[in-house]
């Protein structure tokens, strides 16, 4: 456990932990992020961006966030234009390479294990973390008021799970009938049509979301891989792009149709690309109606984060039949407009 700190400026007080067992060491209400040690610097960068963005908003004046990033020393930012179905090739130097790391510039970047660290530098858009915090599914931090954040987290902690499942104490308290708390689901689309700043931010926070929200994590690119909450430690976001950045029907369909699963809430990050399209030669076009018939996963509530607004649902949620639906707007700020 350590406090995340920045060399650039003061960050909100957020503790960084790498193991589920460390949650016990942190008092209720204290903001924390769970993640792999290897992406600690990425998480610090996410927090730094948030501080700068909030400061700019506070000024009340229009601002150019990209210029603000440059002015604050982020000289490595890149505009990663994304094109449907193709992964961008990015020129990057061999500087800072580990000695044993292979550098093959003939391959697209996503096939290289530096893809994640390069995509983090995408400045074509900014993910408004505030929108994620408003879900109240993980302990929040505030850039200027730790006391308020603590109070909010204490309240959310009590109301977060109606079964009063207490992860810190590893027990179920308060319910008359002992039953397992319902799991949740998070789907992150990392295909090439998703801006890299969006997919990397979601991936950087993926472990934290899964751990705090008691959720399984499904990542879709050229394949779909499901990480159960119990095995979330197996997720390595730094190599995740190696699965390919096309879209997927076959793996996704196999997951959703092979086994019945019941989830309380599904949070889905994506765009219009959906599993009904025939993405590869072996796929067939599947309508949403047929997809819903095939899907064995039951979802109570769906929260859709579509990169382009609220007119459509995030594509990989289209086969679900939720009882409630919420569409989150304005969570991606496009900086090239």
């Amino acid at each position: 456990m350590e406090l995340l700190t920045s060399k650039k400026f003061i960050l909100p007080k957020v503790f960084f932990i790498t193991e589920r067992s460390e949650i016990k060491d942190i008092p209720i209400g204290i903001p924390f992020i769970i993640g792999s040690l290897s992406i600690k610097n990425v998480l610090i960068r996410v927090l730094e961006y948030e501080v700068l963005y909030q400061r700019a908003l506070l000024s009340g004046y229009p601002f150019n966030f990209k210029q603000i990033l440059l002015d604050n020393g982020y000289l490595d930012i890149k505009d990663l234009d994304y094109t449907f179905g193709t992964a961008p090739r990015i020129e990057f130097s061999s500087e800072n390479y580990l000695e044993n790391e292979e550098l093959d510039l003939s391959k697209p970047l996503y096939e290289c294990n530096r893809a994640f660290t390069e995509y983090v530098k995408d400045s074509s858009c900014y993910v408004d973390i505030e929108k994620l915090k408003q879900l109240n599914v993980f302990p929040i931090w505030l850039t200027d008021n730790i006391e308020k954040a603590i109070t909010t987290n204490i309240h959310n902690y009590a109301s977060f799970d109606y079964n009063l499942y207490n992860k810190k104490l590893e027990g179920v308290y308060g319910a008359l009938e002992l039953k397992s708390p319902g799991k949740n689901l998070i789907i992150i689309d990392i295909s090439s049509s998703i801006p890299k700043a969006v997919s990397t931010t979601c991936l950087a926070l993926a472990k934290n979301l899964s751990e705090s929200f008691y959720a399984d994590l499904l990542i879709t690119g050229s394949k779909s891989i499901l990480y159960h909450y119990e095995n979330i430690y197996e997720l390595n976001v730094e190599t995740i792009y190696e699965m390919g950045m096309n879209n997927d029907q076959s793996y996704f369909k196999k997951l959703l149709t092979s086994e019945e699963k019941i989830y309380n809430t599904a949070i889905v990050f994506g765009d219009n690309d959906h599993p009904g399209h025939a993405w590869s030669g072996r796929d067939k076009k599947i309508s949403d109606t047929d997809g819903k018939k095939l899907c064995k996963w039951k979802i109570d509530k769906l929260i859709s984060f579509h990169t382009k607004g609220t007119d459509d649902l995030a594509g990989y949620s289209r086969w679900f039949s939720p009882k409630q639906e919420e569409r989150v707007s304005d969570w991606v700020k496009y900086l090239n407009k």
């Binding site: 406090l3 007080k13 942190i26 008092p27 209720i28 209400g29 204290i30 730790i146 006391e147 603590i150 109070t151 204490i154 309240h155």
Partner: protein, 161 residues
């Protein structure tokens, strides 16, 4: 020659000498004394300085405040509002969380102070046991003690790099 702290003094404008006025020198000791002098002077001058500043007051807020005070109509209270329900559990959890943060801050400062002070190990050893000096001439402004160095570092750890 092996000298303890009580065996050293400065004479005639800062020459480092033994009790019997023999000029002595130890390169590392002298260098640490000069470093200590910088830190102690830095701490002295940093005292009372505000490196953060404060946000300016808003003239608009002041105008609003004046208008509210002079022109707003207030309802007459006929029945007193019920007392707000206390939330001792939330409050105690909050206090526990804030105390944890204070503890982490102190822990972090202590770790940084100890790490910073490692460079003065030789000075601490000199005070505890003594050091070997050779016969040579050197001038110092003062002989600083570990206690002075610790106080200076503790008061300015957030500023020291």
């Amino acid at each position: 020659m092996f000298l303890k702290s009580k065996d050293l003094k400065l004479v005639n404008g800062g020459y480092l000498v033994t009790k019997d006025d023999t000029p002595v020198f130890n390169e590392e000791f002298v260098s640490l004394q000069q470093h200590a002098e910088y830190i102690i002077t830095f701490a002295k001058l940093a005292k009372g300085k505000d490196f953060v500043g404060k946000p300016a007051d808003s003239i608009e807020s002041l105008q609003t405040q004046v208008k509210e005070l002079l022109y707003s109509t207030k309802n007459t209270v006929f029945i007193a509002s019920p007392t707000v329900v206390g939330r001792p559990v939330t409050e105690s959890l909050k206090l526990e969380a804030l105390a944890f943060l204070d503890f982490q801050d102190s822990l972090s400062d202590t770790t940084k102070i100890n790490a910073f002070l490692q460079q003065f190990k030789l000075l601490a050893e000199f005070e505890e046991f003594g050091l070997f000096f050779t016969e040579d001439v050197v001038k110092l402004n003062r002989i600083y003690t570990m206690k002075e160095v610790i106080n200076a570092v503790t008061s300015t750890i957030k500023l020291l790099n």
